[in-house]
């Protein structure tokens, strides 16, 4: 499937569209006053998990699009993979940054509780997201190999 240029490009686009904003929101990349990329101590694992979520999303989502388009199969797996990507992406990004600040200013205590949950459980949520994406990858691979088998 990834021998097709279109799917490789799609995977690259998904990877970078997720990775760059996530690294900026998680304060690994800053562009003002200077462009800088740094991984502070104690945040290495968080960085690795962001990478894992982006890599897995970039693999699993195009695989499921291929499955739907070429094999005309149902859309449940892509739904799960997008759900996994959204959970992995939203965990932790709300803590102290502009999105959390805007949410709390607009929606008050309810948003405060939600953002507190997302930041307090950032690592477990991201781990769960990577686990979910791995599971989708496994079932999709199995499904594609059996459905493409020539009898």
């Amino acid at each position: 499937m990834f021998s097709s240029t279109a799917y490789t490009i799609l995977a690259g686009v998904i990877f970078f569209v997720m990775l760059i904003p996530l690294l900026m929101l998680s304060e690994f990349i800053f562009v003002e006053p200077f462009f800088i990329f740094h991984i502070p101590s104690e945040q290495e694992f968080g960085f690795v998990l962001i990478l894992a979520v982006c890599v897995m999303s970039a693999i699993v989502i195009p695989m499921n699009i291929y499955r739907i388009k070429i094999l005309r199969k149902n859309t449940s797996k892509i739904g799960t993979s997008i759900f996994g990507s959204i959970i992995g992406a939203s965990a932790g990004i709300c803590s102290c940054g502009p999105i959390g600040f805007a949410l709390i200013s607009t929606f008050g205590a309810a948003a405060g509780t939600a953002t507190a949950f997302l930041s307090n459980y950032e690592i477990p949520l991201r781990l769960g997201s990577v686990g979910l994406l791995c599971l989708v990858y496994y079932t999709t691979t199995k499904s594609i190999s059996s459905e493409c088998k020539i009898n």
């Binding site: 800088i36 859309t75 892509i78 997008i82 200013s105 930041s119 307090n120």
Partner: protein
């Protein structure tokens, strides 16, 4: 068919989220640019409600930190960057530091900020500030509850009756609100945010827990 609609909705939500983030980021950049152009001459920020000055009051540069005691990024900045700034700029009297509260992350953020000013009444603002960043845990998990704040005061040999009275009467609630408003007025959209005020009054903004090298590159040309 329904599943396709759900899929489309999910994709639309993702695209809208990215677009919202991009537009918010762009407007922040524009605001910063505007701020940089307009701010020259007298210092535009009101520091009267902030913390006591750390370092020499006569230092040519003032670093203003807007923070929240429950903010994880403020914790990282405190533990990764602050010590270098103190060693190289505060202790050498090239700069001083003022902390202003921007409590928004949880219900205990506000009470923790109040506790620091109650500690200031007993001359222990910075000791209390440092204690809070050394003992920070997850947002609103009880680490900054009233009892815990009192126990921090006890460990710093403070008069507990005076401290509890200060907390119970919410003596500094208005001061913290004023700090928050000052932060918002100066374009704070998250914590930590820093304003570096040069001797001629120009202001440079640094958003987020950026490393020491960034502060150094901003401060050095101002000296």
């Amino acid at each position: 068919m329904n599943k396709k609609i759900i899929l489309l909705v999910v994709f639309a939500v993702m695209i809208v989220s990215v677009a919202l983030y991009a537009s918010s980021y762009y407007s922040q950049l524009m605001q910063m640019q505007e701020h940089r152009i307009n701010v020259s001459g007298p210092v535009p920020i009101n520091l009267t409600n902030g913390s006591p000055v750390l370092g020499s009051p006569n230092a040519p540069i003032t670093i203003v930190e807007f923070g929240d005691y429950q903010c994880e990024m403020c914790y990282h900045w405190y533990h990764n960057t602050r010590a270098d700034i103190i060693d190289n700029y505060i202790d050498t009297e090239k700069a001083n530091l003022v902390f202003m509260d921007l409590p928004g992350l949880g219900r205990d953020s506000f009470t923790a900020a109040q506790a620091t000013y109650c500690a200031e009444d007993q001359g222990k603002y910075w000791e209390y500030h440092e204690t809070l960043y050394n003992f920070q845990e997850a947002v609103d998990n009880g680490w900054a509850s009233k009892d815990r704040l009192a126990s921090f005061a006890f460990n710093l040999d403070m008069d507990l009756d005076e401290f509890n009275d200060c907390m119970d009467t919410a003596k500094y609630a208005k001061r913290i609100k004023a700090n928050f408003d000052e932060g918002v007025r100066n374009g704070a959209q998250g914590t930590p945010m820093f304003l570096i005020i040069s001797p001629d009054g120009t202001v440079k903004k640094i958003s987020g827990a950026q490393p020491y090298s960034v502060f150094s590159q901003v401060i050095e040309p101002m000296l």
